[in-house]
Each structure stands twice: as C-alpha cells, then as structure tokens.
C-alpha cells in the first residue's frame, strides 16, 4: 500500500515533468531546467556524502571545471558541439581521477578539509588564470545548445526536454550504481570500514571509484549548466557554491537519491523566488543552514512524515 503510494507519486511527477512545460511560462520552464541540472549535481554528491560517507566540500570544483571546459572550447576555440561535450566530461572526469588519488585514503573531517582546500584551489585558478578563464568576468557567449548541436528547434522548451532526458538517464544510472553490489559495498564502508576491510574489500579502491563516479555525473551537470546559462564565472565553484550543494543534499536527505532532488529543487526555488523579493538572500540562506541542522538533520526526505507517507526510508 505504502510502496504503491510512492510509485503513484513518482509516475505523477514524471508525467507532469513530461506534459507540463508547454503550459508553463518560460520563467518556470527555465527554473525546472535549473532544478534538474542541480539535482544531477546533488545526486552525484550524495553518492559520496550519503552512500559512501565521504563529505566532499569541493564538489562544485569538478562541476565548474567541466563548465569552464565547455565555455573555453566553444568560445575561444570554436570547437563543435560533441567536442565540447566530450571535452567537458573528459576533463571533469580526469580531474576527479587525479584528485581522487589525493583524498581516497582520508576520512571524515580530514576528507572535508582537504576537498575544501582542493575546491578552493580550483576556484583560485578560475579566478586568477585570466588569459584562459577571463578571471572575475568569467566566460560569456557560450552558444545555445540547440544552435550548437544543430537541432531544428530552439528555445527554452527543447532545452528543457534535452535536460529532462539527461536527468532521467543520469538518475537511472546512479540508481543502478547505488543498488549494485558496488553501491552496497560503499554503504558497508560508510557503516563500518574496518569490518569491510576484514571481509577482504579494497576500501581505498571503492572510495576512489566512488569519488570518480561522483565526478563523472558532476561533469555532466557542469556541461549542461554551461549550455543552460551561456556564461560561467568563478562564483559557480567557490566555497559558497560547494556548501550550497552540501546543503541541497543535507536538506533533502543524504543516503537517498530522491532526497538530493528534493533539496536541489527547494534551494533553486528559494534562491530564484526570494532573490526577486529581497536583498537579504544570504541571511535567509544562512538561516536555512541552521534550521536544517536543528530541525531536520537527516533531511526532509528522511523525516518520519515523508517516509511513512511514501514508503521510502534511508536504508540502514
């Protein structure tokens, strides 16, 4: 009964996402697109944070590197669509493969601190490597996805549907990852690493692969964001961005894939709607952090109410 409620809810949401946009204004279509892009990013962070128990505070860095790659390749170098997409994915992935070597042996707060520093170094490079990244001004003039890919249609709605496809594919792939034996091992490491070790699991390798997997999906999100926004700047990979991402996952519910989607949607919505009415966005965001930790430290999706209503609960 409870599980069926969940299925009905999901089918409804998917049906609305497919059928809804033609009836919405372009503002809301854009907002939904943003939500899905950040949902991919938040889910990718959750593979690390919620499933493996590795709190990365530099995840926006990977996202940013992929976005910058698309930006630089498509504007300064005038490369074609697929070169830009593959270039962004590849560089983001290679970067996480390299960073993963530096962080996969540390845990807990040390992981937090070192990923924080690595993320900030990336931010610093984007900020100071002016000949390539344009410094504070960022890179603008990224072509529209529809035009760049040579699609016969253009506008926010086609872009929305492209993002929806990417989102569904990524969510499905991440769902496969976390429910595979590999994903179960990650959860095992989260719960008790020494026990997993004594069972013969190479925990270093699993943490490394988890880091790289998260990096791949973060790169997907970064590429999509570059095309959506048409502009990248250092603010997308600074500490505030990384911790906002952290908030999306924590607010939504770490250790579930639905949670980060809820969290990403909530934060994107808050950010866009509230900044239209007030200058005090930081004050509100800061309060959201504090209230989240005080009131829903396991996230909205893991609150009793939701769990009972929809039959989903963080698997212990």
């Amino acid at each position: 009964m409870v599980a069926r409620n969940g299925r009905v809810l999901f089918s409804t949401v998917i049906a609305l996402l497919i059928a809804g946009p033609p009836f919405l204004t372009s503002y809301w279509v854009g907002l939904l697109t943003q939500m899905m892009i950040f949902a991919i990013l938040a889910m990718s962070l959750d593979i690390l944070l919620g499933y493996t128990g590795l709190p990365s505070l530099g995840h926006a860095g990977v996202f940013g590197v992929a976005a910058y790659t698309v930006a630089v390749l498509s504007t300064a170098q005038h490369f074609g669509f697929w070169t830009c997409v593959i270039g962004g994915l590849l560089l983001g992935t290679l970067l996480s493969a390299a960073f993963g070597l530096l962080v996969s042996h540390v845990r807990d707060v040390y992981f937090l601190m070192i990923t924080l520093a690595l993320g900030l170094v990336l931010w610093g490079v984007s900020y100071r490597w002016i000949p390539v990244t344009g410094g504070d001004n960022g890179v603008s003039g990224i072509p529209r996805l529809e035009a760049h890919a040579g699609l016969p249609v253009s506008g926010p709605i086609p872009f929305y549907y492209v993002t929806l496809c990417v989102f569904v594919v990524c969510a499905a792939l991440m769902g496969l990852v976390v429910s595979s034996p590999f994903g179960l091992t990650l959860k095992g490491i989260r719960e008790n690493e020494s026990r997993m070790k004594s069972l013969g699991v190479n925990t270093w390798l699993h943490c490394y692969l988890s880091y790289v997997t998260a990096g791949v999906f973060a790169s997907v999100s970064g590429v999509a964001w570059a095309y959506y926004n048409g502009f990248v700047s250092p603010t997308y990979l600074d500490l505030t961005a990384s911790s906002e991402l952290f908030l999306m996952v924590t607010l939504g519910g770490p250790g579930t894939l639905v949670g980060p989607v809820v969290g990403a949607a909530a934060i994107v919505l808050l950010k866009n709607v509230i900044s239209a009415y007030t200058q005090r966005w930081l004050l509100i965001l800061g309060s959201v952090y504090i209230v989240t930790i005080l009131a829903a430290p396991d996230g909205l999706w893991n609150l009793g109410v939701f769990a009972h209503a929809f039959g989903h609960h963080r698997e212990e």
């Binding site: 709190p55 505070l57 530096l102 042996h105 540390v106 807990d108 707060v109 040390y110 937090l112 601190m113 070192i114 924080l116 520093a117 690595l118 900030l120 170094v121 931010w123 610093g124 490079v125 900020y127 100071r128 490597w129 002016i130 000949p131 600074d238 500490l239 505030t240 911790s243 952290f246 908030l247 924590t250 005090r280 930081l282 004050l283 965001l285 800061g286 309060s287 959201v288 952090y289 504090i290 989240t292 930790i293 430290p297």
Partner: protein, 284 residues
C-alpha cells in the same frame, strides 16, 4: 638582491597574517574537530569593528583590543549556542559554521555597508625603514614582529602552563582527556573564543594595508586551510611553519607567475599530503 629581500619580507608579512588566522583554526580543529568556515568571518568582523573604533578614537591599538574582546565574545556565543550541542558531529558543525558565516557576512553588510576601506596607519609607523638599498614599510615589519610575539606567547602557554598541558591532552585525545577530569567543554569554549579573537586581531593588523571589503571573509580562508593541512591539523608548530611556507610561496608565486598564484599552493599541499597525509607536524 634587493628585490629578493623585499619579496621575502612581503612573504613574511603574509605569513604573519596567516599565522594569526591559522593558529586559531588549527587549535579549534585539534580540540573540537570542527572545520570552522566562520573563521574568516571573525577576521572580517575584526577589521569592521576596528573601523568603527578607529573612526571615533584614531587609535589602531584600541581598535585591535576592542575587536579582540568583542569577536572573542561572539566566538564564545557561537560555540555555546550553536556548536556545543553537536559535539562529535563534524558535518552538522561544519554546516552550522557555514550558516553563521553567511549570517555574519550579511550582518556586516547591513551594519557597515559595502564600500571598501582601509584603516589609518598608526602615526608612529607610517614611514618606512631603510637598510642599505632595502626600503621597507615600518608597519609591515611591525606586524611581522607582533605575529612573532603572539607565536612565542602561544608557544609559552602551550608548553609551559597547565592550560597548555590540558590543551595538548585534548588535541591528542579529547575523550581520554575528559576521562582524566579535564573539562573539555570549557576548554573548547576558551579555544574557540581565543581563536576567534586572534583572527579578529589579524584582521585589524591587516587593516591599514588590505583593509575591509565585502567577501574578504572567504578570501584568506583558503590559504589558512592550506596552512593547517600542510602544517598538520591541531599543531601550533605546524601552523607557524605552514604559514611561513604558504606565505612565501603565495608571495613569490604572485610576483613571478601571477596567473597561477593559487595553483602554486597546490604543489606543496600535494607533496605534503602524498608523503605525510597528516601534515608536517600533525598526528593521526
């Protein structure tokens, strides 16, 4: 040669500011295992509070004193109200400090506005010191000296007093220290408050040169974290060595390859992490 000496002195000046920031950060981390993102906010609050005091009284010293006391009290409040109840939950604490950092940033903007400013030099230190060909601003030399004194004082407290002994015990193993009858909760409050105060003091010291501007709270924070990682989390000696290393590298990096100035920090961090993951003087 002149260039080299001047740049070295500039590097030491950065190191002095970094040490004032990183010493608190590393001790807070050592005792409480908190990644304190609000630490940069204390640095920022310091210079903003001092701007009000210096504006009224023209005295940088009074500004530094008031900033130290006020910000240390703010630090104590943050620790008591928001952090103590989340002891041994590092993620919750990190999120709390992040929330606090955003609140402080907006509060500073509301109170002091968004215009950048610098503090007035103290009248005695406005000139420069010349030794042979090398001419160097007296104030920068003075800040290096002050940071040296602070480092010596912290070292003396750490190595020679009962509080220091308790502190070292708590950094090594806070649970065991608690079992030995050391009031780790009170010690944490003290360390957090003094760390916040030192950051504010560092902010005031940088005031005549760097000044205050929106966003300064997250500007020096990356460097301070790199210092703590290189030096070893929880180690004062590490913070000192790390500050000098990072201050020098950052300064020479900015002078020689300005485009990659942050990237030059990356190399030493990677080398240290690869060879000794706990940092130069940190313990696992």
């Amino acid at each position: 040669m002149t260039y080299l000496i001047t740049q070295t002195l500039n590097g030491l000046f950065s190191a002095a500011l970094l040490f004032l920031l990183a010493s608190g950060l590393t001790l807070v981390f050592g005792v409480m295992r908190i990644v304190n993102i609000a630490h940069g906010s204390f640095y920022m609050l310091g210079v903003y509070i001092a701007s009000t005091i210096v504006g009224r009284t023209k005295s940088l010293w009074l500004g530094a004193l008031v900033a130290f006391i006020l910000v240390a009290s703010v630090g104590l409040l943050v620790q008591r109200l928001f952090l103590r109840q989340f002891a041994s939950r590092p993620l919750a604490q990190m999120m709390m400090t992040m929330g606090a950092a955003l609140l402080f940033r907006d509060a500073a903007f509301l109170i002091w506005g968004g215009d950048p400013f610098t503090l007035a030099y103290p009248s005695a230190l406005g000139g420069s010191v010349a030794a042979g060909d090398v001419v160097f601003p007296a104030y920068r030399l003075f800040v290096i000296l002050v940071a040296g004194i602070v480092a010596a004082a912290l070292w003396a407290i750490d190595a020679g007093t009962l509080v220091g002994a308790k502190l070292r015990a708590a950094v090594d193993d806070s649970e065991m220290a608690g079992a030995m009858g050391i009031d780790v909760g009170r010690l944490s409050g003290l360390v957090f408050a003094v760390g916040a105060g030192l950051a504010a003091f560092g902010g005031v010291m940088s005031g005549p040169i760097v000044g205050g501007y929106p966003g300064m709270d997250f500007d020096l924070l990356p460097l301070a974290f790199v210092v703590v990682i290189i030096g070893g989390m929880g180690s004062l000696k590490g913070a000192l060595v790390g500050s000098v290393v990072v201050g020098m590298i950052d300064n020479f990096g900015k002078a020689l390859v300005p485009e990659l100035s942050y990237f030059t920090l990356f190399a030493p961090m990677v080398i240290v992490l690869a060879l000794k993951p706990t940092g130069l003087y940190g313990r696992a």
